[in-house]
Chain length 442, copies 2
């Protein structure tokens, strides 16, 4: 039940075992899945010292890396786990346990005919693989989501967190071992970079791959995978300050969208301003940005209205750049129309916000902008599974199929059609002896 | 507005225009989309002679093909359109018009906080491409589904139906031209085989590709596409006659599943029989199969119980073969357990049926079998969009993501999150000035 015997398995074997495990996980009761998660949460808290000791070994090893291999300060910080971190992991697992059961939900019921009833019912996907960098807290989060939704899961973390990850999975497996109904292969930790290459080819055995890491990392996985990938590409988000905006709200929303956490994919990269309010809006906005150390790159009209504050010239390349940093581009637009067109042309279909007091303009923007999130008078930084109330986040999807935007438990479910009859044959409908009624019951 | 000027466009240009058209289609009212479909249906009926004349030219050309290029009789039959065929096309379009609006449906509403409300709302995918063989009736069907759901569509049919397809698209475009809100590039007919290769690479511009044709054809598209593909692989479906089956129903269901239309992907390939009822069930079943000219391949126990009727020996290869013909393999299983394991091992996750009067066994089968359709006392042949009441069928999916089983309008929609606030910033939640409420409103 620990990870060591599995290390000797090939990835194909591990996937085959996960598939068998998935069939058993799919039939576990809601009570049992919840009880198992609470047991795992308790174990994470109780055995916190083991996690911290393993993490210390990882951190010490990271510190001894030579110049070229060394982790960036940001990556090193994400690797570190402290007592508060393990408590947060346990709390996260308990939150997932408390979510309503995602399985067996009736999405629709139709009486096709007398005694012939079709039920569309949610069920688990089967086997998911998560490939992630640094942050060991991905493990309890994703393991919890997978078990809550009756899925088997394969995990491949970064080498820099190997000790921490191994300790976390061992604790998780030990906690689940007290439930004889839960198969040992519900969760599998993979260990080498080669394992990833093999994972990406196993489209027969894996239902979904979720990469969590930098944009380049996600792009690499997407380009090389035969298995469907749920993840996000670029995060080029806009805040549009409409002609009918409340300018105080506009400054707050734009500032939060850029500054609150500029490295996030849901941070804004470009601010669009309607020409009617640009002169009134820019002084306060530029002052706030300057005070926060934000580099501003503006169109010529923005530069002209800068009031002496520093505004570098923006080029077309700025409209398609995700800075992930304290840099923002600003463009003054001649009309609402121009703003919508700019967003649909340059945005990455992630999250787009309009600031306006004109309800009609807001509705129009939210209808016409093609993005996973369309916001009115709200910071783009709200695009997040926790903030949306999904309990935990599997990832954010900028694709349109299956799941879009922040994805929680639902991303790990699909549905099946259950059809219950009484010896019904198609031949009798073709012969005209029977006709369909198609009465929706739900 | 006809197809000829577009023939000169590159595929990439056609896709770019379709994307622009999609943004306009997404905002059309339900009334307008319905009215346009009814106008198109009328035009198909009114201009039926043009369709029939074009089809006669295609059929004449097909008849003049040399031996090696000649269409199979089945393909030729699918190519032919008669007066009844054009009436059926018009009726189909009217049925799609009558379906409830798939757009703007609120899938969920959550109050994240005071004055901060999240709406999960359905919207169109954007641009879909359909690649199909022979049957020209795919055009009005798919064009109707696309317009009903606010999507732009690219169509590539087989060369053998070129004249008919061109006439159908021209009539469709002419009918839509009276609605100035509908962009001319809502529908585009592509003309060459090279167009397909290019389509498959354009994952930036196309949201979904739907291949309709033989299994090899679908497999080819799946293997070569960077764009997500919705389609079905093999259709290896089972009927399991449980120990508690009503044997009269079992014979009817198994016979219909195999014989009613053996070329369909939802026809049964293997019949599993519980050993307790095999001796009582087989004589009547084998007699029915023999009378219908069905070749039976059985396990040794089936052969032993054949009562002199012809049963060829089944090999392991039979469990994984889609005959698409009047051939069935039969296996006698020792237990319910063995039946479920056989289905999960050899089935293609398409449609699986149990025949039993034991409600518990039925529920267990439907829970444990991993397939798009799990049936109780019903022929597998019901796995079809029309029979499910979806109005029309985009295709059948054996994948688990996005859409599963017979797929109608829903397959062409996704959702967006609309978040409406009043100047809310994430910083105020991080600072603890505000806390999330996450109150589900729907």
């Amino acid at each position: 039940m620990s990870t060591s015997p599995k290390a000797a398995l090939t990835v194909a074997e591990a996937v085959a075992r996960a598939r068998t495990a998935a069939l058993r996980l799919a039939v576990l009761s809601d009570d049992l899945r919840r009880a198992a998660l609470l047991a795992a949460a308790d174990a994470l808290q109780l055995r916190s010292p083991e996690i911290l000791a393993a993490n210390e070994r990882d951190c010490a090893a990271a510190e001894q890396l030579t110049e070229g291999q060394r982790l960036s300060p940001a990556m090193f910080k994400r690797l570190q786990v402290d007592e508060r971190g393990t408590a947060a992991m346990a709390a996260q697992v308990r939150e997932v346990a408390a979510l309503p059961d995602p399985l067996g939900r009736e999405l629709g019921i139709t009486a096709l005919d007398d005694d012939l009833t079709l039920h569309k019912v949610t069920c688990p996907l089967g086997v998911a693989a998560i490939i992630f960098e640094s942050r060991p807290d991905v493990i309890p989060q994703v393991a919890a989501l997978a078990l809550r939704s009756g899925n088997a899961v394969l995990l491949k973390g970064g080498r820099e967190a190997e000790q921490t990850n191994t300790a976390l999975v061992a604790i998780w497996c030990d906690a689940l071992a007290q439930f004889p109904e839960i198969p040992a292969n519900a969760i599998t930790l993979l260990h080498t970079r080669q394992d990833i290459e093999e994972l990406l080819r196993l489209d027969d055995g894996i239902d979904l791959i979720i990469p969590r890491g930098s944009e380049q990392f996600v792009r690499y996985i997407k380009a090389h995978s035969r298995v469907p990938v749920l993840g996000h590409g670029a995060g080029i988000c806009h805040v549009y300050v409409d002609g009918a905006a409340d300018l105080k709200k506009a400054v707050d929303v734009a500032f939060d969208s850029k500054v609150q956490y500029p490295a996030a994919c849901n941070a804004a990269e470009t601010l669009l301003i309607h020409q009617d309010v640009a002169a009134a809006f820019l002084p306060e906005m530029l002052a706030r940005f300057e005070a926060a150390g934000v580099e501003v790159r503006g169109c010529p009209r923005t530069q002209a209205l800068s009031g002496g504050r520093p505004v570098l010239p923006a080029t077309e390349a700025d409209w398609s750049t995700e800075y992930s940093d304290l840099i923002i581009s600003i463009k003054i637009v001649g009309s609402f129309e121009e703003a919508v067109e700019h967003v649909n042309r340059w945005g990455s279909k992630h999250t787009e916000s309009i600031v306006t007091e004109d309800a009609k303009a807001a509705a129009e923007f939210m209808l016409r902008v093609d993005a996973a999130g369309v916001y009115h008078n709200v910071s783009t930084r709200f695009a997040d599974g926790f903030r949306y109330g999904l309990g935990a986040e599997l990832g954010i999807s900028t694709g349109k199929l299956h799941a879009r935007g922040p994805v929680g438990l639902e991303g790990l479910t699909t549905y099946k059609y259950r059809l219950v009859g009484n010896g019904h044959t198609v031949a009798s409908y073709i012969a005209g002896e029977r006709t369909f009624k198609h009465r929706p019951l739900k």
